[in-house]
């Protein structure tokens, strides 16, 4: 039995190494446009992985992750534009803030037994609250948006996150790899097992003595803290922040589509889902362009139809059946 699982994990390790090698080599193989698409894919893979901690592991459905992305982006961008503080120090400020926000929402929801769909709607409410608040807050430029200065940099400045797309690519690749490893260990740790117990049956988890309130709080805070980096990265990669965009419910939905399509609760799901969805959107762009179809909305209709087909045909997402086909199925966590 142990030999079998060792063989499985070797196969997984080989596959993972191949994927990583391909991703590391990518900047030499693709043009600048495709590289920015890859950055976007890894961004969604990262954010999806962060969301997956809360929903996939602990079973708490958040539909308001744009809140943590937006808040962190604003903190880092404000520190950079007003005080000249770099993004990594900004991240040090953003992580506790995002975690604290997650803690407040979690505390209010879990103390008052707000669960399931109600919890999901509470998370939307907080994100919407932030959206409208930032939209009307003059200090952060309100609805006219916050811009980071864009100048031509001679060399890549990793400390200030200013430079060529390839640098951003490696930064987000490293972050995605890191959070993958983090989740790998989290899900196999004591806390991870407690989360799974809560996800599967909260009553039973409480009955066997798990402090469900505390572990649900951990899930929200870890997820929010990890999401925080996505916000800082977003601000420095796109160099602009509009409350209407970063906090909007459609952003929250974009973040969670990847893990759901890929396979909720799995480690590869968020990554695969990001590739599938962004790849699909880009492919639709290319096809539409080739046929000269410039109809606004046509691309999104196809996108919606594809989502519909995937969710009807593959209830567990794309990864679990694919993993079985590749004989690298994750141990059902």
């Amino acid at each position: 039995m142990s030999g079998l699982s060792a063989g499985l994990s070797r196969r997984r390790a080989v596959l993972l190494a191949l994927l990583l090698a391909a991703l590391v080599a990518a900047p030499w193989l693709v043009n600048d446009y495709l590289l920015t698409v890859l950055v976007l894919i890894l961004y969604f893979a990262y954010a999806g992985q962060a969301w997956n901690v809360m929903m996939g592991f602990a079973g708490q459905l958040s539909l308001g992750h744009a809140l943590y992305v937006g808040l962190s982006g604003y903190v880092a961008a404000m520190l950079f534009t007003r005080l000249g503080v770099g993004p990594w120090l900004g991240l040090l400020a953003a992580i506790p803030l995002a975690a604290a926000c997650g803690a407040v929402i979690g505390y209010l929801a879990f103390r008052f037994r707000v669960a399931g769909v109600y919890f999901a709607i509470l998370t939307i409410a907080f994100a919407e609250f932030a959206r409208i608040g930032f939209d009307n807050w003059g200090f952060v430029n309100g609805s006219s948006g916050l811009f980071l200065p864009v100048t031509q940099y001679e060399h890549n400045d990793l400390w200030l996150l200013r430079g060529a797309p390839a640098m951003f690519y490696y930064v987000i690749l490293a972050a995605t790899a890191l959070v993958f490893v983090l989740c790998h260990f989290l899900v196999r740790s004591r806390i991870g097992y407690f989360w799974l117990a809560i996800r599967e049956d909260e009553e039973a988890a409480r009955a066997v003595g798990i402090d469900t309130f505390r572990y649900k709080m951990y899930a929200v805070m870890v997820s929010a803290a990890v999401t925080s980096f996505a916000g800082v990265f977003y601000a420095f990669f796109y160099n602009n922040l509009f409350p209407e965009q970063v906090f909007s419910i459609s952003r929250s939905i974009e973040i969670i589509l990847g893990p759901i399509i890929g396979g909720i609760g799995t480690l590869f799901g968020p990554i695969l889902g990001a590739f599938v969805l962004t790849g699909l959107a880009e492919a639709l762009n290319a096809v539409m362009g080739a046929f000269g179809l410039e109809l606004p909305g046509a691309k999104q209709v196809f996108y919606g139809v594809c989502l519909l087909l995937v969710v009807v045909a593959l209830p567990d997402g794309v990864w679990p059946p694919l993993a079985r086909r590749l004989c690298v199925a994750e141990r059902k966590p």
């Binding site: 399931g116 769909v117 709607i121 409410a125 459609s250 909305g297 999104q300 209709v301 989502l307």
Partner: protein
């Protein structure tokens, strides 16, 4: 500002709120029975709004006359949707249902965008600028008609659920799914009927709402959220609760728009939602969930 101004705005808020309430009622009915959160609710309403706009601009059919026909169209749409696509999902986890309905919402919104373009469409009725004066109160005719129609439609729906055998059967499904199956009720059909009735509510509300606001294809998500806020505030599964929640949110938004800038008005709606979720999670008129 004199008191009369506040009073006028508040009355306008009550009437708009009744229409919001009818819209939210659709969501409440669907969730209360089928246990599926209709994330495409706002998009279904925009469909109704555009049907009303098209009928008005092509055939000069007044939205007030078309209320019942449009509600019937949406009923058929809702019935077909539940019977075909959604029914296999009722036993699936929430996130799976969510994805299905979000996909539907994306398709509906963008299909409308393809057909009608991004601009707002308006309906110019003969009574668009009429108003009634009642002492110091000045009430917009369009709002009054819309609010009255919302009350009548809700009353009709209430009668269906309360006094018809079908309504009784649907309530039985909501109370005890297994029990309903055991006594031989055709649950699939009843669920589809319920979804249809919910869609009819949103259809009627949308038809009324074109008298008050100009529809654009991308209106959907905002109204889906508004419907959530109202339903949770009023109490899920409580039919009067949806109307009470709608009126509360309508008045709050109207007064917030008057006292502050109109763009912050939905912030107050969300603030009410958060307060209700924390201190009275079952909603104002809801029953305490076990």
């Amino acid at each position: 500002m004199p008191l009369a101004v506040y009073l006028n705005v508040a009355v306008g808020g009550v009437l708009t709120g009744l229409v919001y309430g009818l819209m939210a009622l659709g969501l409440s009915v669907i969730f209360g029975v089928v246990r599926v959160v209709n994330f495409a609710h706002g998009e279904m309403m925009t469909v109704a709004m555009f049907i009303a706009v098209v009928l008005f601009s092509w055939f000069h059919l007044d939205p007030l006359i078309m209320l019942v026909p449009i509600a019937a169209v949406l009923f058929a749409f809702g019935y077909a949707l539940q019977a075909s696509l959604i029914n296999p999902f009722i036993t699936r986890p929430e996130h799976s249902q969510f994805l299905l309905l979000v996909a539907l919402a994306i398709i509906i919104a963008n299909a409308l965008l393809i057909m009608f373009g991004p601009d707002a469409r308006s309906v110019q009725t003969s009574y668009a600028y009429d108003s009634f004066q009642l002492g110091p109160l000045i009430v917009d005719a369009a709002k009054l008609y819309a609010g009255a129609a919302a009350i009548m439609f809700t009353a009709a729906l209430f009668a269906v659920f309360r006094f018809t055998p079908v309504g009784k059967a649907i309530r039985a499904c909501a109370d005890n799914y297994t029990g309903a199956l055991v006594v031989g009720l055709d649950v699939t059909h009843l669920y589809a009927l319920t979804f249809g009735l919910g869609a009819a509510c949103v259809g009627a509300a949308g038809t009324m709402l074109v008298l008050l606001i100009d529809p654009t294809p991308m209106l959907g998500p905002g109204y889906t959220l508004l419907a959530f806020v109202i339903v949770i505030t009023g109490g899920l599964g409580s039919m009067p609760g949806a109307l009470v929640g709608g009126v509360l949110i309508g008045v709050t938004e109207a007064l917030a728009g008057l006292l502050f800038t109109p763009s912050v008005k939905s912030m107050f709606a969300f603030a009410i939602l958060v307060l209700v979720l924390l201190f009275r999670p079952q909603g104002i008129l809801g029953r305490r969930l076990a």
